[in-house]
Symmetry: C3
Subunit: 175 residues, 3 copies
């Protein structure tokens, strides 16, 4: 069965067509550049509405059967930023190390990295990872955590992912 | 309207007059040295009682309309240390990056930095930041996170703060 | 009264006798090498069952009166990994700095360190610290956080621990 990956662009303005969906496209470009395993995309643009985000995360995990779901946007302190809350609400297990490493990585570039509240977690056989909204920060963050993602998917019984090693070197501990 | 900043010195002994309120005064001195924007202080010394702390944080946010509230003390593992619990209880959003960066900063000085449980969060248009109880640690911690605070206040619709750049350099991403 | 330390080896396979209890033995060896204070061990091997882990943590804290309890295993993202959830459920206070420092330490060796969800917390006069399951990672992690443990026990009114300074240098701030 082909691996499925969900990309969820969370943005009031992108979902209203006012902004282009650059953040989602940035994720897709990185996944295409890194993954040697063929995969099918489930791609959506939705507004910063917590019930909508939760419903979409549940669908991507339970119905679409995505191994990995990455979200973009909605992770800051503004009133409309609710992506982390929606993620926590649908996950059975949280992985605080993802947010810690992404913030520590972004802190090398901007002191406002501490305002990012992004997290990651597991729902069934799906790993959900929050990413920021700016394409440059998306690359920095996804590059930092991606080496651990394929092994995480192994551990939760999701699809096996392999990468082009020159583009993205992943790590699986020896058994 | 002039910006309001709350300083909450949380200490059984300081509130009983046994200790001086050095931690609170240390915060005030730093804010005066760094901020070029005029501001009005709401300054209180209260005991390590969770209901009292919560009530005071609610008052500073909802009635006093503070843009920023800094607390000092009560962040350790001792039975009377309940500042983080009170903060979590009154906040709508948590900002884990503040605690992570403050602990990482303090770890450069003392290995016991990992015992500090301080956090930060948003209530309405107020940012609440827990600081430790020792003046030296207060400076190290507030210096580490302050560059991100004015932009955080912009994002939640609170007062705009500017600083004397030679004393404290803040950061606002270009729109 | 002699200090009591609990070592809880959490592993389906070790508790079924399929694996040896190397992780638990690794903890005991480190504690024996580092501590100059005499201590009594409460040592158990149990399966990855959340109610069993919670009951055992409660017993070690409330009945056995352990100053410190270290757990090994069950901290990853796999369905049977529930040690952090059990720990959070029985603790009155969480110490996020322990997990942050342990993950940051392990990240120097393996990018999959972010998959570890280990935490630490306080129940009454007992400090509970989750450790990973591999002996090499146990040493790296316990070495990183141990310098802060005796002072933490002082603060919660637990037994006073001293170490052989050449093997493990601890830190207590001057009063």
């Amino acid at each position: 069965m082909i691996a499925k990956i969900g990309v969820l662009n969370i943005s009031d303005r992108a979902s209203a067509g006012i902004y282009s969906d650059e953040p989602g496209q940035a994720c897709v470009a990185l996944l295409r550049a890194w993954l040697s395993t063929p995969f099918e995309l489930d791609y959506k643009i939705i507004p910063d509405e917590r019930p909508v985000i939760e419903a979409e995360l549940r669908r991507l995990a339970d119905e679409a059967g995505c191994a990995l779901v990455v979200t973009t946007g909605g992770t800051g302190p503004a009133p409309r930023d609710v992506t982390p809350e929606a993620t926590v609400a649908v996950c059975e297990k949280l992985l605080p190390g993802f947010g810690e490493l992404m913030r520590a990585t972004s802190l090398r570039y901007v002191p406002t990295a501490i305002l990012s509240r992004q997290t990651a977690g597991i729902r069934g056989r799906t790993l959900i990872v929050n990413l920021p909204g700016r394409p440059k920060a998306i690359r920095e963050n996804l590059e930092a955590v991606f080496p651990a993602i394929p092994y995480c998917l192994d551990l939760i019984g999701a699809a096996r992912l392999e990468t082009h090693e020159a583009a993205m070197k992943i790590f699986r501990p020896k058994p």
